[in-house]
């Protein structure tokens, strides 16, 4: 990394507005060649916008982009590819029924006759696979591959197109810890071969583990760029938020009370009839947080849906406060009346109605309460007043019941959902991904409120793909893999131990073979 070599990428004064939102404010950034450069920031800090400008999805209102010292006009993704920039998106851009090979040549078929391009691509990919120790089955449909492997296909796709600079947008969100480690090894290999990597994340642990330099974004600006070895997670977190934050959660010892939820041999199918839950048995007591750890897609969503009455179970028993729930008459409305609150995993689809204003969202699920709709007519004043109180209690900003849900930030949207669900004095709280897409300040707040609910004697089921969150909050951790609970651990369990369980490896035995 000699200093006279031009930067792999240099951004000068990039400025971008979306309507009234100033997403990037005169951002300047220089990425040294052959390094891994991290970009951290909270949701909405402008990371993704910046990278979308670099990759040609958006055009900057002002500023210029230099690649290897030369000014380039990047107006479309093909311009970016021509300039040697490749991108691996958070949500993969793969055609699922196509094979790996077909996906890689997509958009670079090399003429009307597919055969020629395909065979050239096969040779090139085998070579690339060897160079970077990334073997992927070229002739299998992408839909059959594990998520981590699909991500490797995305990386190979970029390399096949001659990428010298690789942008990865939140690449570890869908990976197990082991898969993430493998990804980091691949990235290190790429760096070794002289490639440049830009790594976008909101997880500080990953920044510390893999990057050479790190830039912190806040409110559309880069607030600092430092060599990773000279900084600490605490310092980065403070730069991200702009004030002191506590990364640890204070939690007092508490002895759980009587059993609130008792689940026995529960099984469930998904909409296609595939078994997604098998023989799940556990209980939750008063004043206890039970955390469900696992890689997304191992049955956690179905478990939440069954327990909240959205999905019908295929078998097993559910007892609430000792009384069995009738499987044919368990619907969300009845469960709400039985003081079961549900914070759904996906607030955009389920927890909120985005075009509705906050006060309309504040009664979602409780609209039949006579306080809100006496004799079937909505009492707008009562609804607005009640929502304002809940918003104040949960510090939802702006505290305006007349504002549309879509116009709140992710953290405030989530706080609005929590405010609604926590307000009903629930016996049992079913909470899915409480801090997904939520900024650090709001995470701190949400964690505190969850602990407060636990201390108030509520039984809480917490499902999260964030292992750190589970470890910080849960009194007991259940690990799910392929629809089963493969292990129960205390909060003192190490990340490594849980990671192995999440990958389906129990006591040295792989249970992965059981999967369909």
């Amino acid at each position: 990394m000699s200093s006279n070599q031009p930067a792999a990428i240099e951004l000068r004064g990039i400025d971008k507005r979306f309507g009234a939102v100033h997403a990037n404010k005169a951002v300047s950034l220089s990425v040294a060649p052959g390094t891994i450069h991290g970009i951290v920031g909270e949701n909405g800090a402008g990371k993704s916008t910046l990278m979308s400008i670099l990759y040609g999805f958006y055009q900057a209102d002002a500023g210029e982009i230099l690649v290897a010292g030369k000014a380039r006009s990047i107006r479309t993704p093909s311009d970016a590819i021509a300039a040697g920039i490749g991108m691996v998106h958070q949500h993969f851009m793969l055609v699922e029924p196509f094979t790996v090979l077909e996906n890689v040549v997509l958009g670079a078929e090399g003429g009307a006759q597919l055969g020629k391009g395909i065979s050239a691509a096969r040779a090139a990919l085998e070579q690339l696979g060897k160079t970077y120790a990334m073997t992927v089955p070229l002739d299998r449909p992408v839909s059959e591959l594990a998520v981590g492997v699909q991500q490797r296909v995305e990386i190979l796709k970029a390399l096949y197109r001659g990428a010298e600079i690789l942008i990865l947008d939140e690449p570890t969100g869908v990976l197990t810890p082991a898969e993430a480690d493998h990804l980091f090894a691949v990235l290190a290999q790429l760096r070794g071969q002289g490639k440049t990597v830009v790594f976008i994340t909101h997880k500080l642990r990953e920044i510390m583990a893999i990057t050479d330099n790190v830039s912190v974004m806040r409110r559309g600006e880069i607030v600092g760029t430092v060599p990773t070895k000279d900084t600490t997670p605490q310092q980065l977190a403070e730069m991200m938020v702009g004030r002191n934050v506590r990364l640890k959660v204070d939690k007092a010892e508490r002895t759980p009370g009587s059993v609130v939820l008792d689940v026995k041999n529960l099984s469930a199918l998904d909409n296609r009839g595939t078994t997604r839950l098998r023989d799940v048995t556990f209980d939750i007591r008063e004043g206890e947080i039970v955390g469900i750890a696992g890689v997304a897609g191992n049955g956690q969503s179905e478990l939440l849906e069954v327990l909240s009455g959205i999905r019908r179970r295929a078998g097993g028993e559910i007892l609430l406060g000792g009384a069995p729930l009738d499987p044919t008459h368990t619907d969300p409305a009845r469960l709400r009346l039985a003081h079961v609150a549900h914070v759904p995993e996906d607030r955009h689809r389920m927890g909120l109605v985005m075009p509705f204003v906050a006060s309309e969202n504040g009664i979602l699920g409780y609209q039949a309460d006579p306080r809100y709709s006496p004799r079937g007519f909505l009492d707008r004043a009562a609804i607005a007043g009640d929502t304002r109180r809940k918003m104040t209690d949960f510090d939802v900003r702006p505290t305006d019941p007349g504002l549309r849900a879509a116009n709140f930030s992710g953290g405030n949207q989530q706080k609005l959902v929590l405010a609604r669900e926590f307000d009903r004095d629930p016996r049992l709280l079913i909470v899915g991904q409480p801090t997904r897409g939520v900024d650090i300040g709001a995470i701190e707040f949400i964690h505190k409120r969850l602990i407060a609910m636990r201390d108030a004697g509520k039984a809480i089921l917490l499902v999260s793909v964030e292992l750190d969150e589970i470890r910080a909050l849960a009194d007991r951790i259940l690990v799910m893999f392929d629809g089963q609970i493969v292990g129960t651990r205390g909060p003192e369990a190490t990340e490594n131990e849980l990671g192995l369980l999440m990958a389906g490896i129990e006591d040295g035995h792989a249970t992965a073979g059981v999967a369909a």
Binding site: F18, G19, G44, A333, M350, P355, L378, N407, F408, S409
Partner: protein, 370 residues
Amino acid sequence: MSARAGDLPWWADRLIIPVLNLALAFLASGVVIWAIGESPLECAQIMVAGAFGSGQGIGYTLFYATNFIFTGLAFAVALHAGLFNIGVEGQAYIGGLGVALASLYFEFLPQPVIILLAILFSAAFGAAWAFIPAYLQAKRGSHLVITTIMFNFIASAVMVYLLVNFLKPAASMAPETRTFAPNATLPQIQQIAHGLGVEIAQSPLNLAFVWALICAVGVSVLIWRTRLGYELRTLGASRPAAIYAGMPVVRLTIIALMLSGALGGFLALNEVMGSQNRLFLDFSGGYGFVGIAVALMGRSRSLGIVLAAILFGALYQGGAELAFDKPAITRDIVVLVQGLVILTAGALENMLRPSVARLFAMSAALGQEA
């Protein structure tokens, strides 16, 4: 991104965009009229004068508007619940059976009672015709657009069958019922005014117009002020959210479509009971389909629907005058203008939006710097 690039203030969304779309449609119509060798300005003048220039013109404009208010409201109610009811045409047509039933078989009753029965029966028949597609959609997931289109055809065939075989007087050749008794019709506004000592021009405008306005207010209250309306809107905005909230999704789907069918059925009050005083073939005349454009243009809001309905009523009436005055222009030109309005206000609804949004963003940015 908290604010999307396409966000507009509500007044721009509901005023500027429809007006621009309309202007575009009129501009394109003007080009066509100019190409046939007529003066677009003169034609526009004739149309406006025809629709609003005389008492009679206004009466006809509002008479047509009544049809569009019913069908526009019908489409909008279903749309609030996320349902695309293409079947308003057929539901309105079958609604005519309900009106005929009341007017033909209950003519011995006093007029207000017959009117009440006609309202109930037209709603019941329209709703019943919507029930089967609604049930299939809610329970079996059959695609509503397909089933309702099919039901329009079935309605058409059923009505021919009933009119020819049962409802037509034995001696008549025409597939229509006998004329209703005078006390089994809806009073015309002109008659009512005459009774009050006010003379207004002759037109088919009748009490159905008043009922249409009452329905517009009623729909507005239902959708925005009641729990049922809240649940329908939740279903329309996000089905998963409605399920999460424990709403009876199947029942809501059926209720929304039956309400829609009932409102569509009211069309027969205006056409059959208020104007022609008999049930005849194809009286629904495509009003059900134009109702889609009316609802879209009116942004599914009652006030917007009433205004859009008056616009379409004016196009109908003004267009008829135009065809009468200008031999080179046939009634087809009216269909063309309507088609263009439907195209810009309905299908191309989002064409101008990004440009307008950009203008707003630019002016907002300028405002901030100033």
